[in-house]
């Protein structure tokens, strides 16, 4: 225990291993501290009772069957994007283009629904739009992946730029198909015939996206954990040289993984247009491509864990807007609380990976 006199007040060491209970203890502790800090902020700035504010957040997410379904729908869509991004990030391919890949799927679906509505029977139209959305999403991911594999281009910038390209193409087609003319909106597609709309299962409008996202999440869990592909991409992520040494075709793995990512994003776009929103706007993707990165990262790219981290994000956003409705506050207040809680949750990862040592006072025994 006795060390030199100039021992720093705090020093940090990397943890070797940490038990699951300890890990979760730190996480839950950080959320608890975050809630306490938020309580102070709430009381000081708004003079509201923090408990009733938290109650409203809970109410906003779980308060009624309709809210639960809305929460599940939001979670499903976010989860799909997060799950799609996971393999790329595990491979250390920084795919910031999830949003653009979703938009490609959105555009393909809307195109089919608008141009083929009276030319195909409904089942065929849905099938064609699905194939188109998958292909468009895959293409949007393939382009940067190919350039990375072939010429080692910077995927961060490339995928990021592809987002803007996709959004601008969508904006262009919105003007072509706007309804009514001059409104800059295409409104709900096929509102009377419902052509191309996905069927409603068991009278629950959002059940289909929820089911699809469960299937996709389980598939990705198995793909990453038990398949040869999943193993190969984690080797590429650890070290491309090692991967080459053991005979993995790095370029092929990159392209294959990104196409998979694009397929899932395209599927998400398809669900958004044909399944839930039935329209196309430039903001339909709503930043999920970026939010999904955080969801995936918080869960350490474990698809099952993403259900939890995704739930946290959706809960915060729905709860935040409920606060503004219930207490007449600006939505920014919900954002402040979300920011504080995320700060602590992300900060807790530091304490899971590193141990902080305080200098022991002289003459006292360590506890």
């Amino acid at each position: 225990m006795d060390k030199q006199k100039k021992e720093p007040l705090i020093h940090i060491t990397k943890r070797k291993a940490i038990s699951k209970t300890h890990e979760w203890g730190i996480r839950l502790g950080s959320i608890l501290i975050a809630l306490i800090v938020c309580a102070f902020i709430t009381t000081i700035t708004t003079h509201l009772n923090p408990i009733s504010v938290y109650g409203a957040m809970w109410e906003g997410s779980f308060g009624s069957p309709r809210k639960m379904w809305a929460l599940l729908k939001e979670l499903s869509i976010l989860l799909m994007v997060s799950v799609a991004l996971a393999p790329a990030f595990k491979m250390k391919f920084w795919n910031l283009g999830g949003g653009g890949q979703v938009m490609a799927g959105v555009l393909a679906t809307a195109t089919c629904m608008i141009t083929l509505d009276d030319k195909l029977p409904n089942a065929a139209l849905i099938l064609v739009s699905l194939i188109a959305a998958l292909a468009a999403g895959a293409l949007w991911a393939f382009i940067p992946a190919f350039c990375k594999a072939k010429w080692n281009t910077n995927e961060t910038l490339f995928t990021l730029m592809m987002n803007y390209v996709a959004t601008q193409i969508v904006a262009y087609y919105i003007i072509i198909w706007e309804n009514p003319k001059g409104s800059g909106k295409i409104g709900i597609i096929n509102p009377n015939t419902n052509a191309g709309w996905l069927p409603v299962i068991a009278e629950k409008q959002y059940l289909l996206p929820v089911l699809v996202s469960i299937v996709v999440t389980i598939f990705m869990y198995i793909y990453l954990k038990y398949s040869k592909h999943g193993y190969e991409l984690s080797v590429v992520g650890e070290s491309q040289n090692t991967a080459r040494y053991v005979g993995i075709n790095v370029g092929k793995v990159i392209i294959r993984t990104l196409v998979l990512c694009g397929l899932i994003c395209g599927l998400t776009g398809w669900l958004l247009v044909a399944g839930t929103d039935h329209t196309m706007t430039t903001t339909i993707e709503a930043g999920r491509g970026f939010l999904g990165v955080m969801v995936a990262w918080l869960a350490h790219f474990n698809p099952i864990g993403m259900i939890l981290s995704g739930l946290l994000m959706v809960f915060m956003s729905r709860g935040g807007s409920e606060i503004s409705t219930a207490f007449g506050l600006n939505n920014s207040f919900g954002d402040i609380l979300t920011g504080v809680i995320l700060f602590f949750v992300i900060g807790s990862e530091f304490f899971i990976n590193y141990k902080v040592h305080f200098r022991k006072a002289h003459g006292k025994e360590a506890a």
Binding site: H22, G25, G29, L32, I33, I36, A39, T43, H47, L48, N49, P50, I51, S52, S64, R66, K67, A70, I175, E178, N179, P180, K181, G182, S183, G184, K185, G187, I188, P191, T276, D277, H278, T279, T281, T283, I284, A286, S321, S324, T325, G328, N330, N331, H357, F358, A366, A367
Partner: protein, 407 residues
Amino acid sequence: MKKRLIALLVCLVMVMMPMLAACGGGGGGEDAAPADEGGAAMKVGLITLHDENSTYDKNFLDSFQASCDKLGVEGIIMKNVPEGQECYDAAGELVDKGCTLIFSDSFGHQGFMLQAAKDNPDVQFVSCTGDSALVAGVDNFHNAFASIYEGRYLAGVAAGMKLKELQDAGKLKGDAPKMGYVGAFTYAEVVSGYTSFYLGAKSIVPDVTMDVTFTGSWYDETAEKEGANKLIQGGADLISQHADSMGAPTACKEAGIPDVSYNGSTMEACPDSYIISSRINWSPFYEYAITAVQNGEAFDTNWTGTLDTGSVELTELNENVAAEGTAAKLEEVEAGLKDGSIHVFDTSTFTVEGKTLDSYKADVEADENYEHETEVISDGYFHESEYRSAPYFDLQIDGINLLDTKF
């Protein structure tokens, strides 16, 4: 170390709990009060695209709260609702909360409000500024707007008076008076607005011309300011705008050019350039609709507020900048508009490609065909906002020069 941290945490929690509970006691009492009253009161919902930081939404929010308070109903507001499925979900939540009448403030909410109306036949839905209720054929789905072109015409009269004053004093930049107009998009709503403003000014100074530039956004302070500066450099003696930021008023203030604002007075910020502004007051409509639902009566599928209903207003006139006699002239013209002796789009006051119009078919029925199906010129004037509350005047008249277009 571990134990110490945990112990610290537990202490913190234990210290905090009574504090929270104490706050809870005070806050709880306040919360409980309105809930008790609300038990019997009718509930009304409002869905807005942005929040009070946007002048457009603020205009809806303020009148809504005032109308609810006045009629003793409980207003529930959902802000920052995007123009997508979120709007449908928000409408559904308002229904769950017990609202029997729900308004939305943005054009793009329309389709989702219609969908919600179909799924909740016992609740009345109003898409303000929307245009499809006429053809939708859904009993509980409504549209509302106001004949703001009358307000803009009056604002144009005030602008004309100012130009006349400048002309008489020989202070015009060019030979003939010239105005500049910063618009958001080249939509019928904006076209109708700048044309009525121009015709108002032209009724005072017949030789006036006007340049129009568009920003491509409802709220873009930089673009609006740049647009106004471009117009001022192009020789404009006076500026007006149809966009939601302070961009154009600020440019006028800096350049010392008189300005006719929109949606609210900018007198405080620009005391030496602001003349007047026109705005829609939504309170008469809210009160009309809420009262109708309270009494279990049906109300208009397509409601148009006018000068008479108090829906179209002029904000305070800045006597320091406005020309002498403006207030009296405005009263006179307003009376003329009200009694029908003056029509804003009187076909004898404007030409299109050099010709006076005696017939024009407008796209009134907002369906997928974009057909211009309804004859809107009769009795010597263009009947704006009569067949449908949302504007449909989309003619490019002589004397107005579009520098660009943005869709």
